[in-house]
């Protein structure tokens, strides 16, 4: 067995142990507990709130704009991480380049803000 697979073996054993332990606990509880079901007890538990409606709920369209903005700015960060790890090496040149990059991004955010995209209506 290769070195790589052996290190995965640890993970495997850990996983099996975890499943076995959880399974054992649930089985013991099932054997020991009294079982007197009523309709009230059988409905799904939603943190004390009455469960209403189906499991397929549409989310608000308002989230969508925020999600889109988030995706864009989140992904742009991919350029900043490699730059940040070698910040000293790049020196002033790198700093100025990144400043321009972030300036343009901020301009985009500023535009979105001024156009009222960030307002929750």
């Amino acid at each position: 067995m290769s070195e790589l697979l052996r290190s995965y073996l640890t993970v495997g054993i850990f996983g099996v142990a975890a499943i076995a332990m959880a399974g054992a606990m649930l089985t013991i509880a099932r054997i020991l507990r009294p079982q007197r079901p009523t309709p009230q007890k059988l409905i799904a538990y939603e943190s004390g709130v009455d469960p209403v409606g189906g499991d397929w709920a549409q989310s608000q369209i308002r989230y969508y704009v925020f999600a889109v903005l988030f995706v864009l700015f989140d992904v742009e960060a991919v350029f900043i991480f490699p730059w940040a790890t070698r910040l000293e090496v790049y020196g002033t040149f790198g700093l100025v380049e990144m400043a321009i990059f972030i300036f343009i991004l901020v301009l985009g955010l500023f535009y979105a803000w001024r156009k009222g995209v960030l307002r929750w209506v």
């Binding site: 992904v75 742009e76 991919v78």
Partner: protein
């Protein structure tokens, strides 16, 4: 068993083909967007695999650019899909036939 870069190339090609097929046969605009992403990720996997095989950092850098471009593209695509769905809920690509074609 030894996992060589060739396996990743095959996986990348498979992802690309699955995405391409999905794009051609699925009719839900959102699923079509997902298929585009799948194709691009197949390409990304190939790029990383090639970079590994060639021992060259270039291929991995390309992936960054592809990721960002893909995000920008999908955001525009989502905007278009939402604009169409808002007017006509439940639209599939077959319904987009006001223009004959």
């Amino acid at each position: 068993m030894d996992v060589t870069t060739g396996w990743y190339l095959v996986l990348g090609a498979l992802l690309f083909v699955i995405g391409g097929t999905g794009l051609l046969i699925r009719r839900n605009p959102l699923v079509m967007l997902m298929c585009v992403e799948l194709m691009l990720n197949g390409v990304n996997l190939s790029l990383v695999a090639f970079a590994q095989r060639l021992d060259d950092i270039g291929g991995q850098t390309v992936v960054f650019f592809v990721l960002v471009v893909a995000a920008a593209e999908v955001v525009v695509g989502l905007g278009l899909v939402v604009a169409i769905l808002r007017r006509r809920p439940g639209t599939t690509a077959d319904d987009l036939s006001t223009l004959r074609g």
